[in-house]
Subunit: 495 residues, 2 copies
Amino acid sequence: MSELADFNEKISDLFRLRALQSHLSWDQQTKMPPEGASARGEMMAWLARKHHQSLTDENLGRIISSLEKQDLSPDDQANVRLMRREYDKASLIPEELVNRMTKASSDAFMAWQESKSNSDMNSFLPHLRTLIDLTKEKISYLGVESTPYDVLLDDYEVGMGVKDYDPFFSNIRQRLVPLFQAIQSSSTRLPEWPDSAIIPESEQESFCQNVINEIGFDLKAGRVDRAPHPFCSGLWPGDTRLTTRFDENQPFSSIYAAMHEAGHGLYEQGLNQDFAFCPRGQAVSLGVHESQSRFWENMVGRSESFWDVAHSWYDECFSSKPEFDKSSLYNLVNQVKPSYIRVEADEISYNFHIMLRYEIEKKIFNENLPIEKIEETWNNLFEDYFGIKVDCASNGCLQDVHWAYAAFGYFPTYTLGNVYAAQLYEAMQEDIGDLNQVIAKGDWTPMKTWLNEKIHIHGSLMEPTELIEKATGKEPDSEPFLKYLESKFSQIYQL
Amino acid sequence: MSELADFNEKISDLFRLRALQSHLSWDQQTKMPPEGASARGEMMAWLARKHHQSLTDENLGRIISSLEKQDLSPDDQANVRLMRREYDKASLIPEELVNRMTKASSDAFMAWQESKSNSDMNSFLPHLRTLIDLTKEKISYLGVESTPYDVLLDDYEVGMGVKDYDPFFSNIRQRLVPLFQAIQSSSTRLPEWPDSAIIPESEQESFCQNVINEIGFDLKAGRVDRAPHPFCSGLWPGDTRLTTRFDENQPFSSIYAAMHEAGHGLYEQGLNQDFAFCPRGQAVSLGVHESQSRFWENMVGRSESFWDVAHSWYDECFSSKPEFDKSSLYNLVNQVKPSYIRVEADEISYNFHIMLRYEIEKKIFNENLPIEKIEETWNNLFEDYFGIKVDCASNGCLQDVHWAYAAFGYFPTYTLGNVYAAQLYEAMQEDIGDLNQVIAKGDWTPMKTWLNEKIHIHGSLMEPTELIEKATGKEPDSEPFLKYLESKFSQIYQL
């Protein structure tokens, strides 16, 4: 067997193990009976061990080194480049540290659930301390080139660090804080969804079905299930699975969750299937993935022209509902107001949640912020951004699960997704004409096709920023996003 | 690591791969989107390859040999004994033959679907020929001790061969053929389900729910889904999955399928979870597994006292249905008549379907029956047993899928299951008293507990016949089964 064939077989094994992990995880969140939890945990740990063993196999390292010196096709080059990165990282971290982190995360997750439901930060602190200590240990193994926090940031969005995010967030802050404040002071009052209005799950489901079809998610090559926390899982060719959830009091919550996940799903379905079991064929980054979900959820779904199409779904799917016209529905889903919970936030203040988390994490890893100061720091920052006080820890730093599994450095990719989405929207518009018209017409295929060609099919052939630049003709830039928000909300709130 | 620990880790890896295969197979039959079929096939083939590699690893063979000479606990002894059998078989068959068989089965399965739908045996013949040739090749590698067909029979029910089945079936034939003929000549007419009666799926589902709960299948440690062909999958501790199907014209079909699969499910849930990932903890054989499903489906579900409990479900779950009293329902589900399709057959003639297949397979492998003579032989034998002519190949030798995946030697385990079920029923009755009363009372826990203790918990600690002997105090014996049928149907048909 040639070295390249050997390499391809080894990485295919690795990616098949990952696909099995995804499949078990999908099942765990949608189908698994409660008593199956413990054996499932062991099965996942077993797969993770097998994966780690294959990834850190010295033969793989040797083959990568040899292939790096050879003249390869761009696809093979991408695989070698991406496997080098993975191999080095995995090999630098001792297996016993990985095991300690797995155990600590599992304990922390259990503790977080209880601490959150009691809104008691103190009971979570010891776990948070352990996870932060272990993460610092991990950073020390990986080696610091610029700042310690950079090591984590790069883990979730390759190539991005403090030197990129600092000016990026500073610019966003300078533009969005005044906008948010202006809206707060404005006398414009938008319509609200009445507390008494109930939409049965089955009717919400049929609305969601319409949106998912319209977006172009292929249900012959996927499915939609329910899960407590919506997610999308691209298992393997022909099999991409979305989940959503329903709240009878909040129909828009399920609709936008469905659009968000269908956006992720389109990306997975649009990847080049010839590279399904190697890095070249995977989605390139969390930030770019999020740009796909936010494109459909916000740029399309929260646009005025969306309701030209969706108003008839509102009428047809919901049997008993408040009568709202198109314009009221548009305003209704674009309320801007301070909120404690990130996932429920409007398009502007959503980014404040991200910046707040970024600033605290930076303090933790680069300035050694004492663990017991985290809550106070959070609450102060929150009041600065939102103008209201955090009322309890479950609405404060306990709200998200990420810290409970040591996912420090993850959050910035969310805002990156928003920014990329707006930049893609602008470039798409240059290519295919006024998107408001496309959206209002109700045939969204041109948008899907554009994303297929400019983003999806490339997988991880290029680095994320390179991909965005190639797709849009411009370096990554937050200007389109900021302009979009300023223009949209100035109009809505008559600023 | 000690040799025993090494052995246990190796077989745990092997059984985890099998559990993943079961999980993917469950998903394939219940949830997979249609476009996922091709990648799923590749994933299953990949797992099968990994499994074969692990099973035939020479280090495993060496450790088994060494452990065979050591003083081990009964549980470890069972694992070593069972792995020896598996290792030897797998090692004797060249991997390229396994690959050829996999490919040929896959092709044959596709061809069988089409041949069956066109009822055209000729188009299936070339595939059947290939599979038979490959199976003969496999037999030659495994080595013949008595007859070639014995090699296959032993594969599906260890320890059983022609010398066991010949007298076994001969005895059954001598007793059941006259009984069947007497019923055919009897003037008694039992009530029939009217063609016009439709029971909606949701109502059948709620009846099935009642039966499954009553049997004691734990839904916190399992689930029920729909599948074209009902099956049960015991994945791992706390996770056993049943499937069923619904036909609005035939409510009893779904009910008895549910009881059948729940019987399999109880076995899986009752296995000793400490041995979940080694042979010691698995169900001991197909015959014993089938005894569990047939016990609940037939011995319980088709008894008169069953309707003392189930009549109220019939009344409550079905909103619009023919009015039948308990006794009519009992008679209705116990119709005896010739039928082409095994899975729809009554308790008596079901066994004729098995014997017919056994006789033909024996001729194929022990007497080299020419392939082109199979259909004629089948049709002649069918007429001998059932007194009616096969009207088309899809009602004849194309009816079952087993031959399409080269499962020659499988069928006898079905009748073995019937026989063991009746023997267990008799022994259970000696231990816990009149089972008619237990069934009629509607608390079936004592029956479940007895099976848990006598069968389930032992897994594969003993050989199948040893297990039956230990559970019932008697060697495997078809007498209880024959007496049960003679007494039950003489009464129903007033012979």
